[in-house]
Symmetry: C2
Amino acid sequence: MTSRPPRPRERGIPEATVARLPVYLRALQALQGRGTATVSSEGLAGAAGVNSAKLRKDLSHLGSYGTRGVGYEVEYLIYQISRELGLTQDWSVAIVGIGNLGRALANYGGFGTRGFRIAALLDADPDVVGLTVASLDVRHIDSLEEVVRSKGVSIGVIATPAGSAQGVASRFVEAGVTSILNFAPVVLNVPDGVDVRKVDLSIELQILAFHAQRRADGDGQAERMGLEVT
Amino acid sequence: MTSRPPRPRERGIPEATVARLPVYLRALQALQGRGTATVSSEGLAGAAGVNSAKLRKDLSHLGSYGTRGVGYEVEYLIYQISRELGLTQDWSVAIVGIGNLGRALANYGGFGTRGFRIAALLDADPDVVGLTVASLDVRHIDSLEEVVRSKGVSIGVIATPAGSAQGVASRFVEAGVTSILNFAPVVLNVPDGVDVRKVDLSIELQILAFHAQRRADGDGQAERMGLEVT
DNA sequence: ACGTGCTTGTGAAAGCATGCACAAAGTGGG
DNA sequence: CCCACTTTGTGCATGCTTTCACAAGCACGT
Ligand SMILES: NC(=O)c1ccc[n+]([C@@H]2O[C@H](COP(=O)([O-])OP(=O)(O)OC[C@H]3O[C@@H](n4cnc5c(N)ncnc54)[C@H](O)[C@@H]3O)[C@@H](O)[C@H]2O)c1
Ligand SMILES: NC(=O)c1ccc[n+]([C@@H]2O[C@H](COP(=O)([O-])OP(=O)(O)OC[C@H]3O[C@@H](n4cnc5c(N)ncnc54)[C@H](O)[C@@H]3O)[C@@H](O)[C@H]2O)c1
């Protein structure tokens, strides 16, 4: 290469864009697996299920990595997005609550395509502590602080019942973990500077139900009479 | 009551609002469980982790269900939100792919607080078909159409590997299911009128990693020298 | 009956996000 | 070397979301 494109990073990628970058990354990896070397914004947008203008604007926030008239080089773009997302470094993950869900998560092989490593499993139940799940010993929750320190845990996953989630979150924060992924159906209270994301099955179902009902209501024939079941 | 508030529904609740209603609903149920009869927008907003002005505007889309100077009656508001979300009717759910995740979902008791019923489990693996999981027989995927019809399935959950997800989605659509919740890490292609929502662990982790990296970059002391690890 | 105090519901402003449409920039053929 | 063609990067218009700030409304005490 003769001269490197000198736009390092401009501080401030829109949140909506950040949320789509992983989707682009996955689409790119699929393309790479199929042997594709370059892709147009149109093509990649199709694979990612978004509008091509949106894709171009999103990518433009990372820099000018495309070639006009040609498109984007798949490998290079994978690298740039990975770097932007922080996937070029390793992240140590601890899962707390090794029940139905925690076990599924621990056993989930393709955990995060790259970069994420499950470093520890923790639980409070004496019957669960000591079990080996996915080649890891389940440790007691009391050793959370020690485990976080010794394994360099930077992301905490909470898969305990709702009632225990806030307590676990506080201990994570206390121990210095500033990224938390919460599967329990509660709103977690954490200090500024701690990033919590939630995955909530029940909310997703309710949103689906809302739209389904909306569709059924307006849908043509029935229910035109003012009757309602109350 | 002397005269009912005559605002039935005004067609068109903003999407952002719909996504928060389930959160409010859960907070209200928690309050109800604790014996609270009425709550102010400030109080409910606190419990739901949002700004109180936002909460009031959200609720105003459903109608005028508060009392000035007092707040909202918990029970009444629970009913109104439930009705709006479509939780006063029953929804039949089928889960396809009874592996690690599918089993956890099937065994998940507090499935959706209310309204959602797991009606069928389906898998392609002969070793899995016939098993009893969460008191349900796992049926073969070939009977999907028959199951959807006989059980009145209206929501399909996909928990198969990525490679099978599109096929399963298409069969759901073919069978008349118009609401799909997808756990597989692929973008599904469905016709207009079908509503797909996705839950994607790996995307959530990547977003956390992005913010964590961002925090580490700007964080005060280290890394002020132009060095970068590349 | 009326005033006081509290809380809702909502205009209006500001901030984000989306998508169009096109100039700018590159490729490749003649 | 130039021209025709393709595709990016982005200015701009539009629409959605959030937040502020306050008038309107209701309960309650006097
Ligand atoms: N299973 C699902 O499909 C599913 C779906 C959506 C949400 N969730 C949510 O995920 C969470 C876990 O669900 P599950 O089905 O795995 O429940 P589970 O009861 O099977 O497992 C919970 C585990 O957490 C452990 N635990 C409890 N308190 C703890 C504490 N203070 N510290 C450490 N560990 C503790 C328990 O010992 C148990 O092993 C719940 O909040 C549930 O609402 C589950
Ligand atoms: N386990 C997790 O924690 C987790 C987390 C995030 C995402 N996911 C995703 O969820 C999906 C399931 O994960 P898992 O860990 O349960 O995988 P798994 O391999 O344990 O289970 C997959 C199941 O799907 C069945 N299946 C395969 N093809 C099928 C088909 N065409 N029709 C019906 N059934 C079929 C298999 O027989 C198997 O039982 C995957 O796409 C995975 O990427 C899982």
